[in-house]
Structure formats: C-alpha cells, structure tokens
Symmetry: C2
Subunit: 216 residues, 2 copies
DNA sequence: TCCTGTGAATTAGTTCACAGCG
DNA sequence: CGCTGTGAACTAATTCACAGGA
C-alpha cells in the first residue's frame, strides 16, 4: 500500500486538503470532486488524485469523494488519530504565542512542558504549565513521555539542545532556530525559518519585473 | 544575467547561505569553499555552485569564495540592500512575537504599523507603535508607503483583508492564515502554516519504519 | 593540485490523457 | 455521461563528472 517514499510536497498538500475537507464537513457538504478540492487548495485536480492515489482509491467514479470518509482517511494517513505530547524548548515571545496557538491543540498536539535557561522566566505560569529549568530536560522528556519537541531558541544553543533531546529519546523536532541541525538517522527535523520567508519575498519584490521583461 | 525563472528552492538556499556567510564573516574567515558552505547548510557542494551559477561566477578556482564579496552579492541578489516597510495585520500573540522578533529588523524589515479589528486592542502601545483600527488600512498603507504585509489573522477575514491590501497597493504578503489566498498576477504571497508543519512531522513519526521495513 | 563553473545524465515531481467504473 | 485512478509524457530539480583557471 505504501510506496517507499512519499514526497514532502505531497504530504503537505494532504494536510491542506484535510483542512478544506473539514471546512466542507462543517458546512454540511458530503461529496466533493477532486476539482473542487484542488480549487480550494490552489492546485489541479490531477494533482489531488495523484496525491491520494499513493495511498489508495478513496473516490467514487462519476461522483467524487465522500467528505467524511476522505477526511478520516487523511487523518489516518497523517497520523492525526492520536495525540502527541510536545515539549517547548525556549520560553520567549514566540514560544508563548505557539503555546497559546489553538491550532496545535485542535490538531492533537498537547504542550506538556516548557523549558527555559533564563532564571527570570523559570517558575512563571503559562496557562496550566510552569516554566521549568532546561537543566531538567532529560528528566522532563522521560517523565512526560514526550513525542515531539518544538525548539524556539537562538541559534547558538540549538544544536546542544537537540543533542540532549535526541539522547533523551525525542525523535521529531520542529526547529525555529536558524541553524541546520545535525541529527542521527531516524530523527525527523522540520525547519521553520521566518527570516528566510521574508527574504524570498524580498527577492520576489526585487525581481518581479524579470518575469515579464527582458531588461533590468 | 538573470534567467527567466529561478526555483523557489534555490532562492531559499541562497538566503541560508547568506546567514552562514555572515556567521563566518563574524568569525573572521575570509575565504570559504562550496563544500564548507554546503556542509553548514545541509546540502552538497554541487548544489551550492549550481545555485550561485544562476546569478554569476563569484568564486576563485582552486580557492573558493571571498566571504565578504559573496555575502555582498547575495544581499544584492536577494534585494536585502534596502529596507522594507511592513504592515502587520492582526494583533494577536503571534503578531506580537513577530513584531518583537529581532531577526526581522536586522534583515531590514521595519514594522511601521499594526492593525486590528478588536476594539480592546486598538490603542495599545506596541514598542514604538500604537495598534490602529483595521478600518484605516487603506489610509495607513498609503501614508506609510507600505511594501509588504504580514497577515496574522484567523482564516475567515484573511481573503477580504488581502483584497483590500492589494487594492491599496501592497504587492507582497507573508500569510499566516490557514487559507489559500487568491491574488492577481504580480502579487507575491508566501504561506507559513504551522499546523501543516506539525502534521508533516506527525506523518513522519507514523511512517518512520516504512523507510526501512516492508511490513507495517 | 585545488576547487569552481557548467553541460550532461539522472532522478524527482507534475501534468496529460484516457481507460474503466458507477 | 462524469469523475476517478493511473500509466505515459513531460518538466523541473538535483547530482555527476570533468574541463579549465588560479
């Protein structure tokens, strides 16, 4: 059923399809064509069908997809039919915003601990959590049975922290620090680099006319 | 000099190379090989050379790249040798974290206004800024000569807001709302979807063993 | 010799186009 | 018929491999 390797771009689109399916679900629609889904997700119907085809045949020819059934399939494919225990490493403003971000909770990601180095922040209450000393990282990861870490620190300490997280058993990391983390086989890292996003926009602004005219 | 179309993946890597070049610069290195840069950026030396070759020949055979000179070239290519005037649309926690985020300022992105719908937040002081009523969007965009908008709102109002931004003359948007925005030709949108990032990690966790073993 | 710059080869990803089922 | 599912065709991106200048 599962091919050797699914492209990251496909997985991202599946997550996007799921979001729209759930919107349609809420609106009471119960059948949807690949064309309609593609339109909402900003892609083509062939792409939608191809993406889904890697995992099975979920549609009805001549009809489309059952919204409920396809949403359920996608949640299953994406591993979203369980909850994840998340540790937040770093307690700056961005970390604070992420802890509050309802999208995480709705999707099954529960922040179970927040770690920080700065003594001024240790002991603060964050919602139901207390910010803990990062020295206790290993203990917390084990006691809380952490599945996934969100790393929200400056660049400098990031590699050392990820080494400790991996040693303690964490196998998935969402990294906001602007460094390329080195991790062993079997550990997944996703990077989010806000500066890079802005810089690609800067590039687009600067080179906008290149796509139309020859001269610069 | 500039080919018709540069892949987004290439532009992102250029931004990453620049970050590391600046680190090396700060450490006093003045020459660097494509191999060293590739290692830091998590790619291959051939990829580094190919990425750069789209824009020119910046290295010295047998030696490598002059760190200062290449950094300057990349800043020029990326359009980072000027400052950008940014409007933040939405004044939630994430917006607050982004406004404070030093990386933006260091890279030349100045937040010149923050807009919000919620009357409770309008009038709050954010650093040197006062949160303004989103009704004044058009006026603010024009008076502040905004180059770029960061959209940090729920999904619902996002399309309407982007329509107004575009009508007012904004041509680049960094979108955190979980919708696929429809914009006319010539307007650039970059999406950052934190839920999607977590969901691809969830997928990776679930399918980790598939890469090695046959059975599931 | 060392390391860049780059066509050529390869691999990955997307789109086409149509057979086949409801 | 309508719309899915999917090989085949195509396009894009990466990697190879080597010529050539410092």
């Amino acid at each position: 059923m599962l091919p050797r390797k699914i492209a990251d771009s496909t997985v991202r689109r599946l997550a996007i399809y799921l979001r729209f399916l759930e919107e349609f679900e809420a609106q009471g629609a119960d059948t949807l064509s690949s064309k309609a889904l593609a339109h909402r997700a900003g892609t083509t119907s062939a792409q939608v069908r191809k993406d889904l085809s890697f995992f099975g045949s979920f549609g009805k020819r001549g009809l489309g997809y059952d919204v409920h059934a396809l949403a359920r399939e996608l949640r299953d494919i994406l591993g979203l039919n369980r909850r994840y225990r998340v540790i937040m490493v770093g307690a700056g403003r961005l970390a604070g915003a992420l802890v509050q971000f309802s999208g995480f909770n709705e999707r099954g990601f529960d922040v179970v601990a927040v770690l920080e180095k700065d003594p001024a922040k240790i002991g603060q209450r964050w919602g139901g959590l207390v910010v803990e000393d990062v020295r206790h990282l290993e203990k917390v990861v084990k006691q809380q049975r952490v599945d996934l870490a969100i790393l929200v620190t400056p660049a400098d300490p990031a590699q050392g922290l990820v080494d400790r997280l991996v040693a303690a058993g964490v196998t998935a990391v969402l990294n906001f620090a602007p460094v390329q983390l080195q991790v062993p086989e079997g550990v997944e890292v996703k990077n989010v680099n806000l500066a890079v996003e802005l810089e690609t926009l800067s590039y687009a602004i600067k080179h906008r006319s290149d796509n139309r005219a020859e001269s610069a």
